[in-house]
Symmetry: C2
Amino acid sequence: MSEYLARVRQAGCRLTKARRAVIAYLQAHDEPQTAATVHRGLRGMRTDLASVYRTLELLERLGVVSRESDGKTAAYALADHHHHHIVCRGCHRKTCLPCALRLPSPRGFSAVQHQVVLTGVCASCAQSS
Amino acid sequence: MSEYLARVRQAGCRLTKARRAVIAYLQAHDEPQTAATVHRGLRGMRTDLASVYRTLELLERLGVVSRESDGKTAAYALADHHHHHIVCRGCHRKTCLPCALRLPSPRGFSAVQHQVVLTGVCASCAQSS
DNA sequence: CTATAATTGCAAACCATTCGCAATAGTCGT
DNA sequence: ACGACTATTGCGAATGGTTTGCAATTATAG
């Protein structure tokens, strides 16, 4: 049983097919995935989009996945697969960046995760303006 | 004319009442505001929520305001009023944090802004679980 | 193997955000 | 200050991601 499934179990939650499938899917994809993408990836089994949302929400609450949102659509990834992106404010294209952030844990908080969203203007957009 | 209004003008955009009002409202509020909140704050004048959204989008594109999203509702603040938050994954309460991030500008990008969203489990939620 | 409560699938509701379009109002040149 | 030109607005309606209620299903404890 994967470490992730174990954590679900430890939280007193059941190991259902849907949950296993969502976790497996995220393990196979490093880049953050939207709920819709995950759902599409599970189209072999009879799984509802709503259940995907519920599962992702559970996993986020447990700290197993992180949720990154560009304002409209949220994307989820295993908290392990951690890196960042810079989004061009012109063309909205994403570029991956390694995580270079080292922060002290804020007072009183535990299990701290972070999400960094960088925006800027990419070279080609800077030219065309 | 405020520095912000000047930047709108320099971008070749008109200084309308709605834009002045939105900027003024954000100047008066340090904490990130949702489009709905801004709109409510402008209820003296006949302003439409859609225009608030259009104005905020413009200001974001110009780099005057930053947009921070928790996945459902986006919040906007003047890029000046910059700090971060840590959100408890249990109770969802926010706590402000000073910005301690110093990053080199990623290759090829200019006018880089960042947004950091920290999540964790606050002391009282850690107890009750 | 059974009982029990957690989860799911489905469909409908929600709500933030966006879009089309005619009316309005900044700006620039005169 | 005036008029023309076009960006911007207000309004209403559409969109689309996300959530919810509920009956049927299914994982788990005993």
